[in-house]
Symmetry: C2
Subunit: 377 residues, 2 copies
């Protein structure tokens, strides 16, 4: 009997986190009798007088938004972390009960003044403005002396905990490197030290191999119809990683060279980034003809070059081990109303998925890059 | 300025997984404008002719349930893993793309014939029957030669992906130790080797310290009003761990001695387990006067004593490093309809919570142990 990944249960290793994922492809056949989701986005007005993110409106803290006409950044009124100074750590009552104070700042980034748009429906120049704003925030926050990591992310859709459909993302800048990027950095570092460059893939600092450069380089050699690549342009590739957890998970990253962070992107690479983002989010919306929910998170060098923390060369080399990439974690599985729940076994034992990453990539490759709302209109 | 855990953002370490959790207590003040959940459980009939778990009914595969009158176990019709033999692993096309075949079996365990009950509303003798059935399944599956871990869990409530309200849990038995229990076992082992017993807490194999024995022993010394303990009886304690991620997360475990697994429980400890389970689940339902959703998972020694894998003494000692415990991961945060979303930052960076574990424990301690439906009736 030959091993068939679309029939036989198996585990794949996520080399970025060191965790496994259980793939149970035959389970796609089971009927779904559980919770169904409400429609992803009822039709929205271009401007909502009740929306605390629309231009000129008041927020709950009483502040008033600028009458912005492209992007708009402000400090979160309910920030999860606050700027220094803060009190020192209290003594631990027991070695197992330690407390580490965390400081920093939380920003909200409105992508566009229009309440009814999303990245999937923005024009390329507007997406380029969002990217420029990400670069700004990363540079500005990353330059603050107490900041050790700038985490850029977007929650999109009510089922992903987004409390306002106005197109926006968040940036949490912290005095610690959070667990997940810290684990990724450890694994990237270990790979660069323990492996010798075996391929003609681009390399990281000091000519040492980069896990993500190597991985993407391999994916680009796989014949499209068998592979995991969904979108590719001159500088960026979007793929369903070998180790994807979420049904239609995507990783988006530069493939042509080792790029540690947003601050390292050349103008042409930013334009190419906007193109890739637009094409990925359009395909997502077209998959089930809905405004596709997801959480997106960006992992990169903890802070930009020139930040206080990386003034010396060795520290900079260390930090340049990072390879900029975006993760998209979308929950929908079968339709606009049936999601994958990562619960029970997944929460308590190990990530689990039904359709294979290759099947998911093929489905996404089959989607148009013309947004379904524009195709109808 | 003194450090105040209910005001200042901080991180706590989960010593079982090695991951951190960001606590941002001042964030409880933010208004919630996002998704609200439908009622947790509309009133249900005692018997539902459409339910594939009710006694005597047909399941989707065509099989018929026994006319059971206490508990009932059957193999999942859509099992995530299948019994051996299976094909060998295919060659990896690249070192980063490895495949590990997984075999095993998936069982469904109906807790009770009545469709409208839950653990919170079962009589103690009925909960003892559920516990007896967990012991049976653990012994039976754990004795299969290919099984390396028996994962017992329950998804309760539609918002936790449970597709049928009939009281039931699942058991996935696998030819690999899944990522999360594997990480816990590694950390338990490391603690036992690197620490010397500092307290009068019970100890693990060879008199070496056990992380969970030590932790619980410490928690029992904290004055109740400041502590994290919710329920305590002769053998078991339920507490909101120092490192809890979910708003009202609970860990339930034996405190009086080191208990590696279900198979090590004496009769009195099982009765005490039933009492603790009943009291925890009643408090949960009473917190927001609803059938409280959660995922529950049990971690313990991978397989029972006497299993093929542990025939020799050293292996058995190794495995006895485990300390039986249950995790409850409930999503509700503020009311029966407002949950905590673990999305964006949490998925991409680090677990984050708003109210402190101590505040959550105090809320749960304030709940009655008489179920709200019985109190009214
Ligand atoms: O097997 P069920 O109850 O239909 O399915 C539920 O539990 C499983 C195990 O936690 C999950 O993989 C599914 O996503 C969830 O919907
Ligand atoms: O800040 P928001 O959008 O109101 O809140 C959302 O994103 C946060 C960051 O991922 C999460 O902690 C919240 O649970 C979620 O509802």
């Amino acid at each position: 009997m030959d091993f068939d990944p679309t029939t036989h249960s198996h585990r794949r290793l996520n080399p970025l986190t060191g965790e496994h994922i259980l793939v149970s492809p035959h389970r796609t056949k089971r009927p779904w009798l559980g919770q169904v989701e409400p429609p992803q986005s009822p039709s929205l007005p271009r401007y909502d007088p009740q929306c605390y993110l629309c231009p000129g409106n008041a927020r709950s803290g009483g502040q008033k938004n600028a009458a912005y006409d492209s992007t708009f950044v402000f400090e979160n009124d309910f920030a999860a972390v606050l700027p220094p100074p803060g009190p020192a750590a209290p003594p631990a009552p027991h070695p197992l009960l330690t407390t580490e104070p965390v400081q920093g700042g939380c920003d909200v980034l409105c992508f566009h003044p229009r309440h009814d748009l999303t990245l999937a429906r923005l024009a390329l120049p507007d997406i380029e403005k969002v990217i420029a704003e990400w670069v700004n925030v990363y540079r500005r926050r990353g330059a603050q002396e107490h900041v050790k990591y700038v985490q850029i992310f977007e929650n999109k859709g009510a089922i992903m905990g987004c409390s306002n459909p106005h197109p926006h993302g968040q940036v949490w800048s912290l005095s610690t490197v959070p667990s997940i990027p810290a684990a990724e950095l450890t694994n990237l570092r270990q790979y660069s030290l323990s492996t010798t460059a075996a391929s003609s893939a681009p390399t990281g600092p000091k000519g040492r191999p980069c896990l993500l450069c190597e991985y993407v380089h391999y994916e680009l050699t796989v014949p499209e119809s068998e592979g995991r690549i969904v979108v590719k342009n001159e500088h960026w590739v979007a793929l369903v990683p070998w180790w994807a957890t979420w049904p239609f998970e995507i990783m988006l990253l530069p493939h042509h060279r080792h790029v540690p962070s947003l601050a390292h992107l050349a103008p042409a690479e930013k334009a190419s980034f906007a193109d890739a983002l637009s094409r990925v989010t359009k395909r997502y919306d077209n998959l089930f003809s809905c405004s596709f929910a997801y959480s997106m998170g960006m992992h990169q060098r903890p802070t930009p070059p020139g930040a206080a923390q990386t003034a010396d060369e060795t520290a900079a080399d260390e930090e340049n081990i990072a390879h900029l990439h975006l993760h998209f974690a979308p929950p929908l599985l079968r339709s606009a109303s049936v999601r994958k729940f990562l619960v029970g076994f997944e929460l308590m034992a190990e990530a689990q998925r039904d359709l294979t990453p290759e099947q998911a990539a093929a489905r996404l490759r089959g989607c148009s890059e013309v947004h379904y709302l524009d195709a109808i209109g």
